[in-house]
């Protein structure tokens, strides 16, 4: 279990400031949500913190190490990411076996067969799925494979980039329960991007509301139902979400 802290994360391209200034702290083993409308910079924060994008200022620490200073291999074994769209995050011409064995080969880990089977059973898939290709699986099964891929290097921190928004509602619940169970079993720290407050309410202890690249307010889960947000934008967002839930 490792805490994550993001300090003064900002992106400036020329004169344009794309992400002004983002800071937040996530305790070890916590699930922290990032919510906001499209284009508010939620996914950008994850892509910067995971070093997929490297042109940013500020500091992101996992445990007591900055992600910038970490060795690439060590960073890969510390943080992993689950992407939004399971149709785009699995290589269309690679079997599950290839998807899972690649990271093991890169990191030179032994007992590959056992590790692959363990990762699949962790996400509730039988080991026969090793020989399937992405087009032979449903969306939920693909997302399970994507989660297994993130698990196989045994990271401490998982970044979840809207892991359920591309899935059917019934499958969403399965994946969310799976993620909650994995956090209990393995003690992951989650940072979860979502625009669905119901998902955040189900998963996260605390969450930050983002608007145009800024964190407007950090709230507790309990603040949602009572809508105890102080900032007008956060209150508006939560109010809209609550009103929507009532209509549905």
């Amino acid at each position: 279990m490792k805490p994550v802290s993001v300090k003064n994360l900002s992106i400036t391209l020329g004169a344009a400031q794309i992400l002004p200034d983002v800071s937040f702290d996530v305790a070890a083993g916590e699930c922290f949500g990032l919510v906001g409308e499209s284009g508010s910079g939620k996914s950008t924060v994850l892509r910067c913190a995971s070093m997929l994008w490297s042109i940013w200022d500020g500091e992101v620490r996992i445990g007591d190490q900055s992600v910038r200073d970490m060795d690439v291999m060590e960073r890969c074994r510390t943080l992993q990411m689950v992407f939004q769209d399971p149709y785009g995050s699995l290589h269309p011409r690679q079997s599950v076996r290839t998807v899972l064995s690649e990271p093991l080969a890169i990191h030179g880990l032994d007992n590959r067969q056992d590790r692959m089977k363990a990762a699949l059973s962790d996400v509730g898939l039988p080991s026969e799925f090793l020989d399937r290709f992405p087009h032979q699986m449903s969306g939920g099964q693909r997302q399970r494979v994507a989660i297994a891929r993130a698990l196989i290097l045994e990271p401490d921190v998982l970044f979840l980039d809207e892991p359920t928004s591309a899935l059917d509602v019934s499958v969403q619940a399965e994946i969310l329960n799976l993620l909650a169970r994995l956090r209990q079993e393995k003690g992951f720290t989650y940072i979860m991007v979502s625009h669905d407050l119901a998902v955040v309410d189900h998963m996260c202890e605390r969450f930050a509301v983002m608007q145009s690249g800024r964190i407007v307010e950090v709230l507790d889960r309990d603040d949602i139902v009572a809508n105890r947000a102080k900032e007008p934008y956060a209150r508006e967002l939560i109010g809209a979400s609550l009103a929507y839930e009532q209509v549905v």
């Binding site: 997929l52 990411m81 995050s89 290589h91």
Partner: protein
């Protein structure tokens, strides 16, 4: 313990490849044009493999007693100005044609794929340098460039092959780059990077398999051009040298007797036409067969 899973993976992936190859062949046979291309190509390969058995005469032996004989039972396609059997020369010439096609594809495919994927994946300065280099090669008419090259190195079959390779890779590099740019921001590439895969590993394992179908199609369509360029170089005396039975060179020497002895140019010409047509049709068929939108349905 470590080798065991690798072994099983290989054993299982081979039938999958064979199965999809069989599916592609079945798909090609369903459409008459691509079936024609496949049949002609198969005949060409068989002809080259069994050339000594199929040929009725030695392609190099001259018989000055029977020069410029019209097609008959003894000489299916007639004889040329030195009394050599044209049918046997065409049969043996298929070996030269196949060699040219094979070597050019072996050279051009990997070079084009490498330059294209590297340029597309890295982008920025690498892309600029590699693509301007490609532009320079593209800006020469390919026949002129190969002519200049062969003229500089001296006329021979090997130099013709090098010259053709030199002019045939840029379109493939362009294609591979365009394909790579559509994939490089995909989530599965990001996931591979998050797993610590090096750029070389990502290009080889993730990007090349995605570019391969379109590069193969392009290569097949290119074959027709390669055959025509090789024949053109042979015709101009810059390709295969006499007495090699290269089809283009056969037309060149037969040109002088064309008015009286039509068979000297007609049969090699028909052979060139058939083979380049077959490759074009096969390429078109492959494009349909390897279409990623359809490949999952079969």
């Amino acid at each position: 313990m470590v080798t065991l899973p690798l072994g099983t993976a290989r054993r299982r992936s081979l039938p999958h490849g064979l199965v999809s190859l069989g599916r592609i062949a079945a798909f090609l046979f369903r459409a008459p044009p691509s079936a024609f291309g496949l049949v002609v190509l198969a005949l060409l390969i068989l002809m080259a493999a069994f050339a000594p058995l199929l040929a009725t005469h030695d392609p190099y032996v001259q018989d000055l007693q029977s020069t410029l004989q019209p097609p008959s039972g003894a000489h299916f396609f007639g004889t040329d100005e030195l009394g050599r059997d044209i049918y046997s020369r065409i049969v043996h010439g298929s070996r030269i044609t196949l060699t040219i096609i094979f070597v050019v594809s072996i050279v051009v495919g990997p070079i084009g794929l490498f330059i294209g994927t590297v340029a597309g994946y890295y982008g920025g300065r690498v892309d600029t340098v590699l693509m301007r280099l490609t532009d320079i090669f593209l800006s020469f008419p390919s026949l002129i460039l190969s002519l200049a090259f062969v003229a500089a190195l001296g006329p021979s079959l090997n130099n013709a092959i090098i010259a053709i390779s030199l002019t045939a890779w840029p379109p493939i590099a362009r294609l591979a780059r365009a394909e790579t740019m559509t994939f490089r921001s995909a989530d599965y590439i990001a996931a591979a990077r998050l797993q610590g895969a090096s750029s070389a590993r990502i290009i080889w394992k993730s990007i090349v398999p995605m570019c391969l179908p379109s590069v193969l199609i392009r290569l097949t369509l290119n074959m027709a051009t390669v055959i025509l360029t090789a024949a053109g170089l042979g015709f101009l005396g810059l390709g295969a040298q006499p007495p090699l039975p290269e089809w283009g060179a056969m037309i060149a020497t037969g040109r002088r007797y064309m008015i009286d002895s039509w068979w000297l140019v007609t049969f090699p010409g028909v052979a060139i036409l058939l083979v380049s047509l077959a490759f074009n049709l096969l390429g078109d068929g492959l494009r349909d067969a390897l279409d990623p939108k359809q490949i999952n349905k079969r």
